[in-house]
């Protein structure tokens, strides 16, 4: 057998290619800054900041086509740990992290941290509990993994049906965030911005699947991190002469706390289960920044943090990325990079929120309503902020802010050039598109591999599998676009529902399938259905007002029920066959051939098409 060193699989020029991309992106921003000084029309600057990066992402994707299933669904298992981690870290945050988390931090202060912490804690859980084992297995989707792990086609179909719910919710949420960022950036209607963004992502995915997504999303992640870092660093230098926004926010916090105390901002104490983060509309700033558990209760904070962690760690959107690395060791290492990237982004977003809050309390709080600074009037003009009508002297709860506007409001408030406002929006759009591409790829792969091919004994060859997946991408994109505008829900709420459903439906079955070899197909099916069913039922009760538990926390009921159902049903049904126990034990050992690849190779030797 020919053995290829893992390092030989990785393209050694990747660093050069992405350095060229970073240089091109930086050149675009510098060029736009110069054009702004030359009084070039604003509409041209906006179009350039929207279209040029989008064309670069799509171009990178189209230049990475895939013809074989291994390339289309797993990027040929050639993605280095750093790039995999970079994409994972940014895609895990997505628009919900860049836009909604920043706004939640601005308005709810400390309480918003439950989302950011949950995301990188989820990546830690993924590194320890799931990623190495799913890489060893090598299946392209989670339903495919479950179907093969328990040798049960029905389970595969059930898993595809159950897990498509959180994936679809996440996809819709990211389409809505992309529409918001795109519309703010271009000035177009949200529907048009969404159609253009989704078409660019779908076209690229259709051509190259996971391969196109990986390299295009690497570029998006670099752009998102650069676009986030530049305005935050400039503001940190302006305030502290230190270009480290993550480390300078602490001093400002003390100033904010002092001003809020002297201005008599009240201390609000929320009930333990409260979960009241700001919505999409203009909302009041409810509480002191530093005070814990004023909008989100202590139990609500804990539940949301752990549900986000469980949902992210077992996400059907993110976990298939583990299969793209050259080996198990790289899969683990890539999660280390992912935690680093996501953590630094969370700290920077938090610093953005602190800086903006500081400018707000310093320049707007306690001012006469008719003598507000020009930048606040500018934000009012675009509907991002407002003072409660009839206010004479501004108190904290008279300041109304649009949650998702916080990221681009900072450069406006700091008086930075308009191009840096567009840069912040372009960065948010890039992160949103990375998450959108991951969700669209996951649902298309599930549709093609598990629904179309899942039940057939003799599955078509490589070309048919890739063709079906190519067709599934635009189909799923059209459905997502339609649903995004048919469902008038807050995208953060959709993201939280996706996370809570993923935590309750996906986490228990994945955990038990790796760490408890006695689990059988019936138990796995029971866990999936109970997790989804109970969580959806509790969320429904919550939305109708029948119970006081917030619907975003419904997973705290569904998750233990799913574990319980799996245990009971498994003990009431026959133990797994010896070959499945052997498979479970093979899965736990990093050495040896990837299990899915071994199965495909053996079937080819027998003259059968890969299942």
């Amino acid at each position: 057998m020919v053995v290829t060193a893992r390092t030989r699989l990785v393209n050694p020029r990747l660093g050069t290619y992405f350095a060229i991309f970073a240089a091109a992106f930086t050149a675009l921003v510098l060029m736009a800054l110069m054009l702004e000084q030359l009084d070039v029309a604003d509409v041209i600057l906006r179009a350039a900041m929207f279209a040029v990066p989008l064309a670069l992402y799509a171009g990178i994707g189209v230049c990475a086509p895939a013809w074989e299933p291994g390339d289309f669904f797993a990027c040929g298992r050639r993605v280095p740990a750093f790039f995999n981690g970079l994409v994972l870290g940014v895609a895990a945050l997505g628009g919900a992290g860049f836009l909604a988390f920043t706004g939640a931090m601005l308005m709810s202060g400390f309480d918003g941290l439950c989302l950011g912490i949950g995301v990188y804690a989820g990546l830690v859980f993924m590194a320890v509990l799931f990623a190495p084992y799913l890489r060893k297995f090598g299946a392209y989707t989670l339903p495919s993994y479950l179907g093969r792990r328990f040798a049960n086609g029905t389970l595969r179909i059930v898993a595809a049906a159950v897990l498509s719910a959180p994936v679809l919710l996440l996809l819709i949420a990211e389409v809505r965030f992309a529409a918001y960022a795109g519309a703010r950036l271009t000035g177009w209607p949200e529907s048009l911005a969404a159609v253009v963004a989704v078409a660019a992502v779908a076209g690229m995915l259709s051509a190259g699947g996971m391969r196109a997504m990986t390299w295009s999303s690497s570029a998006k992640a670099i752009a998102a991190v650069l676009a986030l870092a530049v305005p935050a660093t400039i503001v940190a230098v302006m305030l502290f002469n230190l270009p480290l926004p993550q480390m300078t926010q602490g001093n400002i916090l003390r100033i904010i706390a002092r001003i809020e105390i002297t201005r008599g901002v009240p201390i609000v104490i929320a009930p333990p289960l409260a979960f009241d983060l700001p919505g999409t509309e203009l909302g009041e700033i409810p509480k002191r920044y530093l005070q814990a558990f004023g909008s989100v209760g202590s139990l609500g904070f804990m539940f949301m943090m752990f549900l986000t962690a469980a949902g992210i760690s077992a996400s059907p959107v993110l976990l298939p990325r583990a299969g793209t690395t050259p080996g198990v060791y790289e899969a683990r290492k890539s999660l280390g990079w992912a935690v680093l990237v996501a953590g630094i982004v969370v700290l920077t977003l938090s610093a953005d929120a602190v800086f903006l809050r500081s400018i707000l309390v310093g320049q707007v709080l306690h001012q006469p309503a008719d003598q507000l600074p020009a930048w606040f009037r500018e934000l009012e003009a675009v509907g991002a902020a407002q003072i409660t009508p009839g206010t004479d002297v501004v108190a904290l709860n008279n300041i109304m802010f649009q949650r998702d506007a916080a990221l681009f409001a900072l450069p406006v408030a700091a008086g930075l050039p308009q191009v840096l406002v567009y840069l912040a929006l372009a960065g948010a759009l890039a992160a949103t598109l990375a998450a959108l591409a991951a969700a669209l790829m996951a649902i298309s792969a599930m549709l093609a591999e598990d629904v179309v091919h899942g039940l057939a004994d003799d599955v078509a060859g490589s070309r048919a599998r890739v063709t079906v997946a190519r067709l599934a991408v635009p189909g799923a994109a059209l459905v997502a676009l339609w649903l995004a505008f048919a469902i008038p829900a807050d995208p953060l709420q959709l993201f939280l529902w996706a996370v809570t459903l993923s935590a309750a439906a996906s986490f228990p079955v994945l955990f038990l399938s790796i760490w408890w070899k006695r689990l059988n197909a019936w138990g796995a099916m029971a866990a999936l259905c109970t997790g989804l069913g109970v969580t959806a039922f509790v969320a429904l009760l919550s939305e109708t007002g029948a119970i006081s538990l917030p619907s975003a926390l419904a997973g705290v009921v569904g998750l233990p029920c799913a574990f319980l159902a799996a245990g009971i049903v498994t003990h009431l049904t026959p133990a797994p066959a010896a070959n499945l126990l052997e498979l479970a034990m093979d899965l736990r050992v990093p050495g040896g051939e990837t299990l899915y690849d071994r199965e495909v190779r053996l079937q080819r030797l027998k003259g059968r098409a890969p299942v």
Partner: protein, 86 residues
């Protein structure tokens, strides 16, 4: 590929490593936010301690947890001969 008793020993070692990695992290996730308000009266690097520990501290603990896990689990793989072949 390792076989028989060595597999059991390897998996036992891996399970302990999983718990040793996650338990302290989970405890920190629970304890630090709950005591943030009480700790905010003290300062570290100019920042209120409770907020600093929840915002920066948990991130540092998360990254250290993963880094140590990757390092130790790789050592366990090599110790039991369960590492990848190439």
């Amino acid at each position: 590929m390792i076989e028989g008793e060595e597999r059991k020993a390897y998996w036992l070692h891996t399970k302990w490593q999983m718990m040793a990695s996650l338990l302290p992290f989970v405890v920190a996730l629970i304890v630090l936010p709950l005591y943030a308000d009480a700790l905010n009266v003290k300062r570290v690097l100019g920042s209120p301690l409770g907020f600093f520990l929840t915002c920066h501290g948990l991130f540092l603990i998360a990254f250290t947890t993963v880094a140590m896990f990757v390092n130790r689990q790789d050592a366990i793989d090599h110790w039991h001969g369960a590492h990848e072949d190439f």
